[in-house]
Amino acid sequence: MLTGSKTTFKVRQMLPDIKERMLSQSGVNARSRDVFGLRCLPGECVLQRAVMVRKKLTAREGRGWVSGTLFCTHFRVAFLPQDSPKADDNADPVLLGDHDVALASIEKVVVVGPNRTKLVTPNSSLKFTPEELVLYCRDLRVICFLFDRLTPDAQVLEITYTIAKTYQPPKPGSVLSFQNAALGSVEMKQFLSNRRRNTHMNWFECAADWEQELERCGATGWRVSSVNDRFEMSTSLPRSIVVPQKVLDTELKKSFAHFNEGRIPRWCWRHPRGSDLLRMASFQNNIYHEKDDIRNLEMILFGCQSSLCVVVELDEELPSPADVQLAHSRLRALCLGDISTSVSVPDDKWLSTLESTRWLDYTRACLRKASEVACLLRGGHLTVALQEADDRDMSCVVSSLVQVMCDPHCRTQHGFQGLVQKEWVTAGHRFYTRINYHRDNDKEEAPVFLLFLDCVWQLLSQYPSRFQLTDDFLLALHDSIHLPLFSSFLANCQRERCKRSQNLGQSYTPVNGWRDMLHQDSSSDPSDPPLPSVWDWSLQYSKHRRDHFTQPVPPTPPLQPLLNGNLNTNPDTHRLTDTIPGSVFLLSRGSFSCPSNLLPWRSGSSGVYKKSHRRAPSSENVPGLERLLKAWALAELPHGLSATSGPQGPLDPYEPLLPLLMGPCMGLWRECYLRGALHAQAFSHPISANHPHPVERLAREVQQLKDKLAQVSSGANPNPPSKTSEPRRADTNLNQNTNNGTFLFPASKPQGAAMPRAPPPATSTNHLTSRGPPPAIAPPSRPGHKDNGGSNKHTFLFGHSSVAEARSDQRYYPAPSNAKLPKSNGSSIAS
């Protein structure tokens, strides 16, 4: 390669619009088209390209290099591998290919010359021809392109300048121009407005969505109130809020004034044991509390539980947004090193430096708090109210973590997406401010949501088999945050989103207002394109990548709704009568207390309190609650044991996933934070480039077999008389394909869609038993199982883990021998 050319090129010479005309002509009618083999979005212009470029692959992609062509459009830096298949012209436009990076994600552009590195800014000029182009992204990716000797020098320089010129430097207005570049074309608007929303997930945008959630959780005694429908009561709360049935809207309206930003206690989730999770902002102390207001307020707070309410104080033990921001920026600096100088922390100080970022401390604190709340909820029949000063940051983290821990539904991809909608997007987490897309509000910037993702990753890494979603999904979500394209993140609350949609010339619709905006013809205002939701993954990721969002073998059986939360009603009720009904405790710093001034109006010596409640629990009673909760925990054990050793369902899916929180157990999300650690890959060779990861291969094989099974069984359909099971099996397979599930969903469904003759479960929750056929055949399995044939509800996959471990008196054996399982299943199929 030439070592430095004598002339210097100025970026200014490469004006984008000139390049536009040079390289591509904006097509008007075509939905998408090829430019030099690159499939462009409608209206997308290729500004520059360079041939014979090699891209460095990460460990996850298999390491090594792939060669191809590098493009810079006015929306992304695209890389087209040499042998990539020709794109289908009729396919939907995809914003980003597998090897692409959006210009808005780029944070810094660095070039590596023969013996120097240089940070390239829009105004800088190069005195040498780069050999390597390194793009440092906001999402901690580092993408490295290597120019070949055969790449024309002019192309190398021009594409470097073009990228440096067009990537989004942090200045106001750049976000909008980026959005226009990506989504501004008429075709794109048309396309987006015709997008169907994902109907598999709950969007929590209208009353019906919330009612669906109430039904899913089996939460009775609550109703959806539209009192905030016009955001008159609280600007940051969503339209629909869930409150106790017995509280009337007129009573409710008086409560808003008592809370910071009007964020009154609202229902979030019901634990199957009947506890409710609420969240609220801190009390407004500077107003006069009237008698009736107080009564209403208490009714809201106690919800449907008559006995116990625990207010969990979040401000004290959890990091403030500023802490999170500081920790994250330190972590960034540690993981990426000093970008321009490539100086990184010396190896022997790595762990100490990691510790001093405090990032892991903060994840631990969040997980610990969530574990506490999860354990409280497990006790059953109480109300836990999360209280944070503004109820828009840490309470999002904790409430959603609690649900991830306790609710298997939230560990599926769609369930998780619904959870984020519920606890973050519509609940009014200030995404727009916290992410600080415009770089105009550094004080408020704080990646609270990324902290949450890290916490989920910690849970995932400790309980990999209890999640249906994967860390690929978390990573995709992590990266999407930094892309200012999604309606989910470009506003601080539902009201702002609605406003935006009104600005697009839409008439105000009270019920499901803004989400219909995509169906409007919004092309009239080109400065403000319609924004897609982040959950529309196919805009960003190819089918292949999206397949990795869910585990090939989903772990837990799909959830049946539990009505009335009566999973475990009997054991605790009598004990609850011991406690004083209407007691409010404060959980703070790990201990319970009952400060007299917990509720502001109680501080005075007003008689109201004494009238509505029997007696203030004196301080001696406080350890009593702790003891009580502990006693519950202990009392559950024999109960749990008898349940597991008996013929009942072996696994309580609602048992919270309590993470280990000791120092060694808190891991660093290497796949995310260390993606850019290029210096560590000095020796990396294409080890597995040709070998996909074994799990992937296995998953692919399972998929193939599944398809084959579907094919074969549908092929056998014409001969139904002998096989009653097969049509059903075909059906299930079809269903699976549509809902992105995999084989194991029906297989582990005890009703025997896939395994029709398997004996049904006799679970502790008897809502399941009514549907399955009676246990006609006890499988000829090991003798040890005969006495509990009913427990054989699981199929081959989970049979051994559930059956064997369920019995307290059985020794564990990791996997049954190959010879045995086919036998037991064989009988169920053949019979």
Partner: protein, 671 residues
Amino acid sequence: MEKQAGAGGAADGAGPSRKLWGSPTGGPAAGETLDSPTGSHVEWCKQLIAATISSQISGPVPSDIANRENKARRRPDFMVSKRLTAPRNLPALRYGAQVIMSQNQVPLLPGETIQTTVKDVMYICPFSGLVNGTLTITDYKLYFTTVEKESPFVLDVNLGVISRLETISVPNQGENTKGLELVCKDMRSPRFAYKTEESHPDVVELLAKHAFPLSHGLPLFAFLYKEQFPVDGWKVYDPTAEYRRQGLPNESWTISKMNSTYELCDTYPSILVIPTNITEEDIKRVAVFRAKHRIPVLSWIHPETQATIIRCSQPLVGPSDRRCKEDERFLQIIMDANAQSHKLTIFDARQSSVAVTNKAKDGGYESESFYPNVELNFLEIPNIHVMRESLRKMKDVVYPTIDEAHWHSAIDQTHWLEYIRLLLAGAAKVADKLESGKTSVVVHCSDGWDRTAQLTSLAMLMLDSHYRTLRGFQVLVEKEWISFGHKFAARVGHGDENHANSERSPLFIQFIDCVWQMTRQFPAAFEFNELFLITVLDHLYSCLFGTFLYNSEQERAAKEVQTTTVSLWSYINSQPEDFTNPFYVDYEHHVLYPLVSSRHLELWTGYYARWNPRMRPQVPVHQTLKELLFLRAELQRRVEELQRDATSHSLSSSSEHSPAHSTGTPLHTAV
């Protein structure tokens, strides 16, 4: 009880029939007792999995709010979970009727005899407080059980692992109560309190006698162990066969029997690979010039480039810069044997400053001016004393309590991972020089039996996929460590009372740790699993097998180790399925270069911190993988079945389907 035993046996799908030879495989282990006899690791893993899974089922999580370790660490409520897991482990005790049970329910190995039984002993558990029970001491292990029937608690420590015995004071337990701490080599220190009575022999004395048999004129337990395994592990390593596999002898290299009587070098094996065109006289002169007579010999040869890994000890240059013409010629011949390169690289594992000071002690390093075309590199790895100190610090960090807030910086301060990094980086340099540079490499440190063994074996593991198989790894250990005279007896201190001996150092543990780091980075490239590595390390200390006893091949031959003791590989290879990685893919022609930045190294908590019950994994990943394999097997079977059905029912429809089913990837289905 009978029912439980039956159920346990039935749950073990492999069944007792598989272990016909049987006995110690169904090793007793329960609660936190993990290292009992041989089979207990397998048991331990299984129980661990069972315990974690069932704890999720039944919810014996430490009481709700007390999940915060910092508060609950010493609280008795944690006992609850232990008591709960214990009944599940009970069948394990009864598993395998072949285990000889003494009257008081102590499982014994063949050849093991009970020495004494002490009642009313308190085990001072660092995690759950005091446990009352009975202590049994055999000539192999220390076995503690609780009296309570409903919540049995078993602690089983083999005596070989004990480094020293210390008396401790036990407050508030009355007079006549003595405290005893067993400081172990495997990162734990169980403590007991017991009442002294006139009638009993002193426990400490008895323990010392059997824990340090060599210091008391007794034989090691390996010579008493009478187990019969169907596979003979002593046959695993045949040097001639191994060299033949490497394509030796060839025109440049010959297999020499010069050292068959260990006269040339008493710490080398009897069979050596040396260049063909060098005379015996010259070799003898070279031997005089090299420390401990450890001459340069071939360890490994690249199948394509013929570049070689040569190991030796330091040259005895001395302060006056002595030269040895024969040694210089020897290295020249080694260089010439590789036609691809006209250079030779010497990796001196030591710190360069140490190498210089060694000159004053008559040692030294090769001067580049006397050895033409030789490049000398120092790998800057500290000596055995530094390593010992590092592991000692590590023990303070991981046992008994783990400081949550300063965990990472505490690990940093032990420098353990830094030394791991140095080793891996050094080995990667050696491997890269061979693979990319096509240059032969000479590796030495001072004596050529510590850091040299670590570096050559790691480099060979990176270069040669054969060593990444279960059998191949055994060959690697037998060859590079055992036969080439790594001083296991001195470094581990088998049966020796002198715990402060400065010869002791955890070099083999470092090596296994490096292997573990590589298995983390290349999860599918190794045929063995983590359990295998832990088992190897546990029996490094246990003195149950003869594999790691003594310092050199000569000593082992004199003590007739092969005929009078059992090999660890006999045990491993009799049940290889427990030690295999189900996702092994043979990357046959791939050289594995691990990422050696600290960012990519992890502390092996599964080994170092395994005694802490709070460190137990929540969900074993292997479980998921095995489930996947299982699912595939099941799906495959069902596809076949349905295809058969379809064919028999409708010929027309079946013709549309492809008759062949996918045969699957070469993954181990034997999980």
